[in-house]
Symmetry: C2
């Protein structure tokens, strides 16, 4: 994954670039509801402005009547009308406020989730006894187990299913690799400093916070101002340092804590730097992604695959970003686990033999068109998305489908999952197409997986710098006469015309795809010159006939040598897990109704512990049976926990519900036990000898609770769960 996408992975709430404002996301809403909220916000703001005018006018009328010493009944009537208008205005204000205060609801929900997570030691700030460090968290036992389960399923679902080649490279990465990839130069965020305390802030965050705060709290904004602020939010990610600095000055934004003036924004490189070896001369960085370890080894991977395409390599491991000012808890951290796939493919054939297996999936997609035209995400059949060209090619489509299956099987709510296509200005110039799996949580829509067709960019960059050809060959059975489209820019003419920008123009010309090049050729022949967009320069330049020759040439060739394209699904494991926590969390009243019990409805696949074993009461017989069952569960490799405390069975159930343990075995006799399912709270009675194997089959997906429910006698224990 490269430059442009970094900003993507680091840009959490995508709403700034989508027609959804950050205000329009309600906690439990699916996208259409959010869109409805957005439109009612607009109409309420308009109604409020109208009502304010009416109040003003009526106020003037009252004052005029008074000035003219009108009759008291007339004045009273006018005042009554004014008061009525004010009441109506207040009512509109309340409505608007209630929409805008969705943020509070989201925050209190988030608080309930994170409070449970911290209390049950899913995570804890790193080195908490020393005061912690921003952006670093330890996963405690249940959090660690959830992560291991997610990664283990990831390997089964992706690596083994497609027989991918998995790599394992160090975190410490020599500088050369990250120079070639562009990270040393461009992996930056814009920073401002408090001019007095030297505290550092992310420039875009300050501007974003300012706009959001205004939009949320200031009900008197004019429609023009609302539009302006929303526009700033939408363009924020593309602002240059100068543009950002100008906006910060214009809005009078100061340091949040001290109100001191701020410095101009300047780029801060987000990689952790270190020195390799004792001399201090060799610079290393902690890798910002795992992908580069695969790219630099392409030659050996290709050989390992019998010199055949397509194939995929994968890597799971820690990645690092020295965030300027981390916030949003587990979502924006300085060290995190990435799981990345690099699927190498012949650029001339991006079909996928297994696409048919996912073609009939239908889920929320949010194509570029819909975003630009202000529509919302909609359910599209994947096969249709590919056949209509909404998704660039079958391989990209195949991975989108597989990612959908992966996330939903983990327990992500399919109504709060969408695949959003990158807008033209979000994508790197070389990328063919890019989709993000976004999951909605209390922070908004979060990019959790990026699925990009990165063309040949990465392999070319490393080939160029290392002088090692990272290419594939296709041997022809017979020598072939090949017609090739050859684009030959004239360096001299382009140099003269574009001076310092010539390199980017050259690159862009050479990177043209066939259709684009043929269109240019036709235009140059008919009109002599043509407008040409250079993405990297963010502008359009004029290309004339002398600057480039485009022609088809015939050659005899024995093989094709080419740089493979790479399609890259890249998973932010910590983000997926955090969203999963929110989607799995719910509260239900205790039996006595006196408290709210918290439950994670993890599927067994994900649950940190699969099963608990409880002796109903403290007695030697029940404890002996519990030990026996524990032994069988260990032998069957089912992770479990025995709780022999004397606490009431209801409390023990509640305790493990909070951890998302799906099944509980309660020992209440020597010969048989009950098995309880977490969400239904239903129980069946099973022989002691069978208990472990019933749970094993349930947790490994060989049977469902419905099967068990129909095969075993039901057990009702009305008194238990109090």
């Amino acid at each position: 994954m490269l430059l442009h996408q970094f900003f993507k992975l680091r840009t959490i709430a995508r709403n700034s670039q989508s027609p959804f404002s950050s205000l329009s996301i309600s906690l439990s809403s699916s996208s259409p509801m959010a869109a409805a909220a957005a439109s009612s916000e607009d109409s309420l703001r308009k109604a409020l402005a109208d009502k304010q005018s009416a109040v003003d006018a009526q106020g003037n009328a009252v004052r005029a009547l008074k000035a003219a010493s009108a009759a008291k009944p007339d004045i009273d009537a006018a005042i009554a009308a004014l008061n009525a208008l004010k009441l109506e205005k207040s009512s509109i204000e309340r409505s608007l406020q209630s929409i805008l205060s969705v943020a509070d609801t989201r925050e209190s929900f988030r608080h309930a989730v994170t409070n449970t997570l911290e209390r049950r030691f899913f995570y804890i700030p790193t080195a908490k006894i020393y005061g912690g460090v921003a952006g670093l968290y330890d996963y405690g036992p249940p959090g660690c187990d959830v992560k291991l389960n997610v990664l283990s399923f990831w390997r089964k679902h992706f690596v083994r299913e497609e027989q991918m080649l998995e790599m394992d490279c160090p975190c410490v990465t020599p500088e050369e690799v990250l120079k070639a990839s562009g990270h040393v130069e461009k992996f930056t965020d814009l920073m401002v400093k408090d001019t007095k305390t030297n505290n550092c802030f992310r420039a875009d965050h300050l501007l974003k916070d300012y706009c959001n705060e205004k939009l949320q709290k200031d009900l008197t904004l004019s429609p023009e101002k609302v539009a302006e602020l929303k526009n700033v939010l939408a363009l924020l990610d593309d602002f240059s340092p100068e543009e950002l600095g100008a906006k910060i000055k214009e809005y009078g934004i100061t340091a949040p804590d001290t109100q001191n003036p701020l410095s101009d924004p300047y780029p801060f490189n987000l990689m952790f730097q270190t020195k390799i070896g004792p001399s201090g001369l060799q610079t290393g960085y902690l890798r910002p992604e795992t992908a580069q370890g695969i790219f630099v080894n392409f030659r050996d991977l290709y050989y390992c695959n019998g010199n055949k395409l397509p194939f995929a390599a994968a890597q799971v491991g820690q990645a690092f970003r020295n965030e300027i000012a981390p916030r949003q808890g587990l979502l924006r951290v300085r060290e995190f686990t990435l799981a990345e796939i690099e699927h190498f493919v012949d650029p001339e054939d991006k079909s996928h033999p297994k696409f048919a297996e996912v073609a009939d999936l239908e889920f929320l997609m949010f194509p570029r068109e819909e975003q630009v035209s202000g529509q919302s995400a909609k359910r599209i059949r994947l096969g249709e998305a590919v056949s209509k060209g909404i998704v660039n090619n079958e391989t990209l489509g195949y991975f989108i489908g597989r990612v959908y299956l992966f996330l939903t099987r983990l327990g992500i709510d399919k109504d709060r999952l969408r695949f959003r296509q990158h807008l033209a200005n979000e994508m790197a110039h070389y990328a063919a197409d890019c989709w993000d799996a976004e999951i909605e949580c209390s922070y908004g829509w979060i990019e959790c997986v990026g699925i990009a067709d990165r063309s040949a960019y990465d392999l070319r960059a490393h080939s160029e710098k290392s002088k090692v050809a990272l290419v594939a060959q296709e041997k022809f059975l017979e020598p072939k006469e090949v017609e090739k489209l050859v684009i030959t820019p004239s360096k001299k003419e382009i140099g003269l015309a574009f001076k310092g920008e010539q390199k980017k123009v050259l690159e862009a010309l050479e990177a043209m795809r066939e259709k684009e090049a043929l269109d240019m050729k036709a235009a140059l022949e008919s009109k002599g010159e043509v407008e040409f967009e250079v993405c990297q320069l963010k502008k359009t330049v004029t290309i004339n006939k002398k600057m480039v020759t485009i022609q088809k040439e015939k050659k005899i060739e024995h093989q094709r040598v080419f740089t493979p394209s790479v399609i890259e699904p890249s998973f932010g494991i910590g983000r997926i897990i955090y969203c999963l926590y929110e989607h799995s969390f719910y509260m239900r009243p205790s039996k006595a109704g006196d408290e709210e019990l918290r439950v994670f409805r993890f599927p067994a696949l994900v649950a940190p512990i699969k099963c608990t074993v409880f002796p109903l009461v403290q007695n030697q017989t029940f404890e002996a049976v519990s030990k026996l069952i524990s032994k069988s569960l260990t032998a069957a490799d089912v992770s479990h926990k025995v709780d022999i405390t004397g606490t009431s069975i209801g409390k023990r159930y509640a305790r493990t519900d909070e951890l998302g343990v799906p099944f509980a075995i309660t020992v209440d006799s020597e010969s048989s036990v009950t098995i309880r399912e977490r969400d239904s709270k239903d129980q069946v009675r099973v022989d002691v000898e069978k208990a472990a194997s019933v749970v094993k089959e349930l947790t490994e997906g060989q049977s469902t609770w419905a099967d068990v429910w129909s095969n075993f006698p039901h057990h009702s224990s009305a008194a238990a769960e109090d």
Copy 2:
């Protein structure tokens, strides 16, 4: 794991501190053989010295005869006797050389292993296309799979078997944690610089190389010199910078590449340093071990375990050591995977309820006594080792047994595995006992697992620095009158007597165990003063009556509050895997006898791929059947690879033997296939539908090859493997 042990984990060939010299390790020898080699080396050196004296004497005799113009026959006879002596001397020299040249045999074996590993992409130097970096390696697909398999078995064998609490903490660690643990101050190696080029070297390595080279190449060394050099090798790890510097000067050791003079040795901290956040003010380090993440979270872990002891926490992850000059390939690297267990236990009760399960294991142990008295490792029953007090306590013994089972089940040769106890001078002063699992490979005996009873040191260090009590409580059923031994040093007296050393004396007094303290009390009462060894000062000091009060006091207490002891098994995963490669590697002639085929005899548990599927010849039917079987294997989650190339079946078998793939399914008909076992090369015939499940049961250990061999018809294919 802490200070002293670092040197341990970083000291690879333990021979420098054991009676085995590095010369005495033969490639395939078990310890007794190595010991025999060592003793024959000594006797040969003695015989050579004696023969040299005889040659010298006879030479003098010949010269005397000539000088005295003796009769020719007498002179001729004397010369003949001299020549005979010289011949005998040469023969002894050859014998000695052949013992000393074991190193060459080891090197050529190692070369065969690493060559196969690199060629088959088990590993590759990191960023090889940019020239690589010393001490950093990428694991390619088979290496990565082996590592995942080892870790997966580790979790099953340790974490789930004992229901340990697994943690997952970041690599980037704030400075406070590593200050408290002592790493910031003491995690160093002694370095010397080439005074002209500034190249850096490890001082102890240069001295060690010098001694080893002398011992190996110089046959004329006097017995005194041999003893001196061996003594230096034995003491090397304990040398102060001054002692090391003096020896380097005395032996005239210079920079290996340039022969330039060297600087004095000085400590170099081995942690990779970085800055957290943009201000540059917050220092962080890449963790040198994973254990600290567990210690700082003790309070939450204890709570998580229901405030009960004993329990164990575990962590698997990357650790980092910025080695001065890495060598020994995969054994000494700058980034590596550690798997660590911290088992917290009441210091007053280190029994283990499951010790009986391992008590009857018998394997090579190398207790302190045997090392000091020049004996060799011997087979001891674990139960006996604990009952005789050779191993300090049951819990330590239990883990030694579990580690033995773990390593041998992975495929480590039990005859090249020993548990070596730390000598007194190797152990930290606070450690109760410490054993290393050492595995013999071509580099000598390698410490791969450390199993230490670290007492309460780590938790106390963090309690003290963080001011957070990391303690456990035992509530008494009834309040108890407790007699406590209270050691009260007089800070004033000790300060006066020991000045700058007072802190270490104080610590050592307070750290005395009950018996030691009572002995001191008695001695002080009878003699008024006593000699007391302060390990940290490496010397003995005199303590008098005024300096310390030791007395038993009675108190009424409702609970005991205490700092738990920790028993720590710490696994260097990369080292275990490298030794496993060597132990699994063998060569066998091809059928035609024209080449040596290389095989890794990995157990299925470890093998990177469990099974290959080969259509016997390229044809549509066989390929269709292969696809079908592949699909069943994927569904059963058995990692496998289909090879449809037209290469001969023998070559395809050889290819996968090199990867250690245990089973191969060859499709030679529509209805049935053959399954081949790697090491015996035996084949059985199995129905197509059953193939996947037969392999699944084999690889998951539900059946053995012997079972399969007796249940299915045998297939002989004499022609296949050529």
